[in-house]
Symmetry: C2
Subunit: 357 residues, 2 copies
């Protein structure tokens, strides 16, 4: 986010090929309608979201990801401006390497970053980065403010999100989600994973509806299966905690067993896909264990890598997965949440995009 | 079984390429050691089985299916002869089209047929077929006697069998097996199935040991999974009963869902195999639903066919499965158990084998 002096607000999303800008004077009349003095639980109304999409304009089409992204930005901007009485005239450039609609929470990462930037822009949170630091994070209290606002962005994008995605983008590490309650796991190791996008489009809403229908049709079968998935999470939590104290190959072996069992159960409740099974088969032929991530039904799979997994085994798996038409990234889970990064530490292409703006 | 007058007993297993015969005078000295006045639960001892394998002779090797089959025959023959004081001098020819070691209960079918024939040979059960009938079955009381003896044959072959296989071969239809207790389901429809042999060899003992090890390692996960498999059986029992009253496509649709869920759970508890998954994938591409049968880990899969499944769909599926190197048969489940068949109703190749003997 960089200040500009011409009374305009711009939003650049180079990875989506989108560039929009508005006059602060245009936005001012909308402020009254976007007061965040709403009860916490009340989501943005469908009318508000529609209005913002129209206002966002652009030639992307009403349901396009660019249009939705612009609406979420405007909602967050107007909410913050309304609450703090400031309309910061800024250039906002969001660089995102996450595929959208793949179940990776790209919208949450987007909402959290916007929330952090806009709250700082209005003076509601500090800027944590000190001279000479490469990255820095906000205080717990500030992160809580960022997370709450980001959830509103998620509501604009998803309608009725669980809040898990924005929470993990805010806090990092790993979270526990039980009956709508989110809590942070105290100690989790950073796990090396391979993330594979099958590129099969899926709808979380349709998948959730399918599970609910099966639960109604076969309650005595679906209930214990869902309970087993829950038991796997709890077992996994214990292993992750033990790993931070005494990491051993035995822990990885247990995690691999749980990955396999969970994948079979997810297939059993009806959120699998033949191409997710393909990912599992291909990685299994390289001795690696995979499961779907997100809502399932397509989207991405994660493959657990051990610290000692040979680069050649990973490269071979990536080659075979790429041949199936999938896209792979090696990354980690259990990484930090929202952080402020010093400009010189950013990747060259991001610096270039920032200069171009 | 046909009587012979030369004081010999012969066992012909043309499908195994095995032909053995003994003098009744040779067998008489063994009678004392095979009295069935043993407690019901006491299985044949390892020494008895070893002795019978040696006695059976043949050039098949000690653990060969032919040697085990001969030992089971001799055990049943001597048990019956000892109990009823008769050594029937007979030719026994067993025609079996079931693959051995594929988890299809071929040994139970063999034991039950031998038990029925030998008990009739000693006058312990009647011969149920009346003039002009094509097939006939024994009374409940007689079937119970046949089943109990057949279980001894299974013990010779498997050591510690559950008794389910000989029970279903005896009674036919479908059975309920709960905590070692077997009971017959009152009304079950005859279901068309495709039976596919992956030809992957597997050991029931090793598979059971694997499940037990997982149960010890992850009790909170494995217990609800096993309970879910149990719930599927109970749900299925209800559907099968409803189908005999009012068969509908809706019932098949529910059975197909349960087949899929069960297959995923069986994979989850660790008794799947990549080639069983292949069967599921191939049949799924023809709109058909499959699961492993028997102990899993290889062996056979069953594919449910609806009464209205087009022959061309089945043929296409069989073609694709055969291309994978599998062997398929279309058959039914819920058929009658042990039956006496009139000679003219047997297949030509069986009649030919009988004449050759």
């Amino acid at each position: 986010m960089t200040p500009r002096q011409d009374g305009k607000i711009s939003l650049q999303l180079p990875n989506l090929g989108s560039q929009l800008s508005w006059e602060a004077a245009e936005l001012r009349p909308l402020l009254a309608a976007f007061s965040v003095e709403l009860p916490e639980a009340q989501p943005p109304s469908a009318e508000q979201v529609e209005k913002l999409k129209e206002f966002a304009g652009g030639d992307y089409g009403h349901e396009a990801v660019q249009s939705v992204a612009a609406a979420a930005f405007l909602y967050l901007y107007l909410s913050v401006a309304s609450k703090y009485g400031v309309l910061p005239t800024v250039d906002i450039l969001v660089w995102s390497e996450l595929p959208t609609g793949a179940g990776l929470g790209s919208s949450a990462a987007y909402s959290v970053c916007l929330a952090g930037a806009l709250l700082f822009g209005c003076g509601a949170v500090s800027y944590p980065l000190q001279e000479g630091q490469e990255t820095a994070r906000w205080t717990k209290e500030e992160l809580d403010v960022i997370n709450r606002l980001a959830f509103r962005g998620e509501q604009v994008i998803h309608g009725n999100p669980s809040g898990v995605d924005n929470a993990v983008s805010t806090w990092g590490g790993a979270l526990r989600y039980i009956s709508g309650q989110i809590s942070v796991l105290k100690s989790v190791p950073t796990l090396r994973i391979l993330l594979t996008n099958t590129k099969v489009p899926r709808s979380t809403k349709i998948l959730v509806a399918g599970v609910k229908a099966k639960l109604l049709e076969f309650p005595t079968i679906m209930e214990p299966m869902l309970a087993t998935i829950d038991a796997i999470s709890r077992e996994c939590e214990g292993i992750l905690e033990a790993m931070t104290k005494d990491p051993s190959q035995e822990h990885y072996s247990r995690l691999e067993d749980l990955v396999d069992i969970n994948q079979h159960l997810l297939n059993g409740i009806g959120v699998g896909h033949a191409l997710l099974d393909r990912v599992c088969q291909v990685t299994s032929s390289h001795g690696l264990h995979s499961k779907l991530t997100g809502a399932g039904g397509g989207g991405c799979a994660i493959t657990l890598l051990r610290p000692g997994t040979a680069p050649s085994a990973v490269e071979d798996a990536i080659r075979d997965l790429t041949r199936c038409g999938f896209e792979c990234w090696e990354t980690v889970i259990g990484a930090p949440g929202i952080s402020a990064h010093a400009l010189p530490c950013l990747k060259a292409e991001v610096q270039k995009a920032l200069k171009g703006s």
